[in-house]
């Protein structure tokens, strides 16, 4: 069920789905980081594009140095791998939000989807990943 406000924006929660590669990547992380990332996705689900500030710094990895691809390179590396996901994630930066959520979302390869994300809703029946 898609709910929309009078102003045309959509009502959360947003559905967040995980790409299989993202899931595989998640499973390699320590349990505490897995919790952090899934909790981050919960926030994404709760607030979608309204989410202002990230807590990416809480994702430290095994060596405590964070994930190296949480940066502009992630956009380049993953941007062409996705259709709907990249559009959605990029919409964060286009709207002037801080980029870290974009990077984290790309790093997680989580797709914030359906019930409120028009570009993803349109893409639902299309091929999602280009390889």
């Amino acid at each position: 069920m898609i709910k929309a406000r009078e102003d045309g924006t959509f009502v959360p929660p947003y559905k967040v789905v995980w790409h299989p590669d993202a899931e595989a990547e998640l499973l390699l992380a320590p349990a505490a980081d897995q919790v952090t990332m899934l909790h981050a996705a919960q926030k994404l689900s709760a607030e979608g594009p309204n989410l202002h500030y990230p807590h990416q710094s809480a994702v430290q990895g095994d060596d405590g140095k964070g994930f190296e691809s949480c940066g502009p390179a992630a956009d380049a590396a993953y941007g062409d791998r996705f259709t709907a996901a990249s559009k959605t994630c990029m919409s964060f930066s286009r709207s002037g939000r801080r980029h870290k959520w974009t990077q984290l979302a790309l790093r997680l390869r989580a797709n914030a989807a359906t019930n409120g994300w028009p570009n993803l809703r349109r893409a639902e029946d299309n091929e999602l990943v280009r390889r």
């Binding site: 559905k15 967040v16 789905v17 995980w18 790409h19 299989p20 899931e23 998640l26 349990a31 505490a32 897995q34 919790v35 952090t36 899934l38 909790h39 996705a41 919960q42 926030k43 689900s45 709760a46 607030e47 309204n50 989410l51 202002h52 500030y53 807590h55 809480a58 709907a84 989580a110 797709n111 989807a113 359906t114 993803l120 893409a123 639902e124 029946d125 299309n126 091929e127 999602l128 990943v129």
Partner: protein, 130 residues
């Protein structure tokens, strides 16, 4: 690949809880903290507040708000009291044997605003914010 083929975040969480004891332990340890974090994030988003602005309202420093929003440290009772006062949110924590139903949580909260619940070793915990 279609979106409908992909696991939702909720499905993945349930799977991790069911299959990985270390994950489950950490997930349960942070349940209260995560529930509060979600409520604070939601409030800040709905009201268009920065962490710094919310911190001012709570008579806290911005890093304290950031720490609450990270959801990895259980807030103290005084912190919950301050959040409840400023955010106009009621936090209700119901801890009971898992074979009993929650009694402190309203039906509305259970249906709409319950933000965290889990069962472990015969104990059930439900945190609601309304």
């Amino acid at each position: 690949m279609k979106l409908s083929d992909l696991k939702t975040n909720e499905e993945l969480i349930a799977e991790r809880v069911a299959t990985d004891p270390a994950f489950r332990a950490e997930w349960e340890r942070t349940a209260l903290a995560r529930a509060v974090a979600l409520e604070v994030v939601r409030y800040r988003s709905e009201n268009g507040l920065s962490q710094r602005k919310l911190a001012e309202m709570l008579l806290m420093k911005q890093p304290q708000v950031a720490r609450i929003e990270r959801g990895d440290t259980t807030p103290s009772i005084p912190t919950l009291s301050r959040l409840a006062s400023v955010l106009d949110v009621e936090f209700t924590l119901d801890i009971r044997p898992s074979n009993r139903k929650a009694t402190l949580i309203t039906k509305r909260a259970q249906e709409q605003d319950a933000v965290a619940s889990y069962e472990s070793e015969g104990v059930a915990v439900l945190l609601a914010a309304a």
